[in-house]
Symmetry: C2
Subunit: 195 residues, 2 copies
Amino acid sequence: MKPEESTGDRLLAGAATLFRQKGYAGTTTRELSGLLGLQNASLYHHISGKEDILFRLCMGALEHVAEGIDQVMDPRLSPIDQLRALALRYTQIALEDRDRHATMLIEIRALSDARRTEVVEARDKNVRRVQDVIAAALSEGEIRQDIDVKYVTLALFNLLNWSIFWWRPDGEIEASELAEILWKVFADGAVTSRT
Amino acid sequence: MKPEESTGDRLLAGAATLFRQKGYAGTTTRELSGLLGLQNASLYHHISGKEDILFRLCMGALEHVAEGIDQVMDPRLSPIDQLRALALRYTQIALEDRDRHATMLIEIRALSDARRTEVVEARDKNVRRVQDVIAAALSEGEIRQDIDVKYVTLALFNLLNWSIFWWRPDGEIEASELAEILWKVFADGAVTSRT
DNA sequence: GTCTATACACAGATAGAC
DNA sequence: GTCTATCTGTGTATAGAC
């Protein structure tokens, strides 16, 4: 049922795979064109330059996350239940889109100032939406108050983001299972006795 | 009191900074020699090639961690207290040595097969020592038993490793403070009501 | 241990035909 | 939309003098 993928889409998907595996600077446009079965020059019909690919990948990954957040934000839920739904969905999106997502997280530094600023803003927008939900849950007494909201948020993203670098789609654990595990640790911790 | 740093040491420290900021492939040997006030060719008196720098940085970072683990492992402590000491020390070492540590975590992929294998083994050795302590704490009932030890360990490293990419030495929070926060979240979770 | 000079492979990108 | 051919800058690395 999947429609024929355009060359432009295959280009971005191929680039995401290569960029995650070998890094942006470590990937040559010739490797990319080779993967697509094209000549190097043919790439430039679809893109304006190598950096253009990276920029589109980053923005695409972040829009994908933003859509996921939209879908899962249910105002009928309590803040803490919203947060749980958000964390699970974010983990799953990040893992299933790991080529783009890992590239976005790591290779932002390779973008020009103007483009990097744009990507960072889009990323921070997503983070802020999560932080707002955490703040709402905190004001209802559902989140511990001895840690600044900012660091609660960062701890959550720590927990979720790093998984992208070791989780594999053909590994022993499904994305949804891992999402549940990470949420459990974030919510309740791993130690039984309170320390 | 710090002894005069040899050119070889300055080379490695400078490379770590550049590699973290711009990536391994994105850093040129000319930038490095420029930073040191040397000609490009002069580097090759100290190293056999660019990849040699990366390899030494990775191994150095991991040895540094291993020494930290040695220092903090006190057999008189209970497993859960050992784990706490371990987590705090690991966080602090990783943050204070973030140039080398971030490079090691991200740029392993750029090493040749043989060297990458060696680095991965050294890294896994450190991880295994932590996992062994978690397993010991678990068998004393101090760690929750509904998550496989393997994933408890990975969750801990998720939490600690990702901090390297946003924490800054001149920021608003000290490494030791952040270490405490992350341990709190790992140990007790961030949610007050049990979910 | 650092220098000058240079080799040479390969990168990203463009021109213009088909 | 893809091709062949090619430009030009820059990368890592070496040779050999000082």
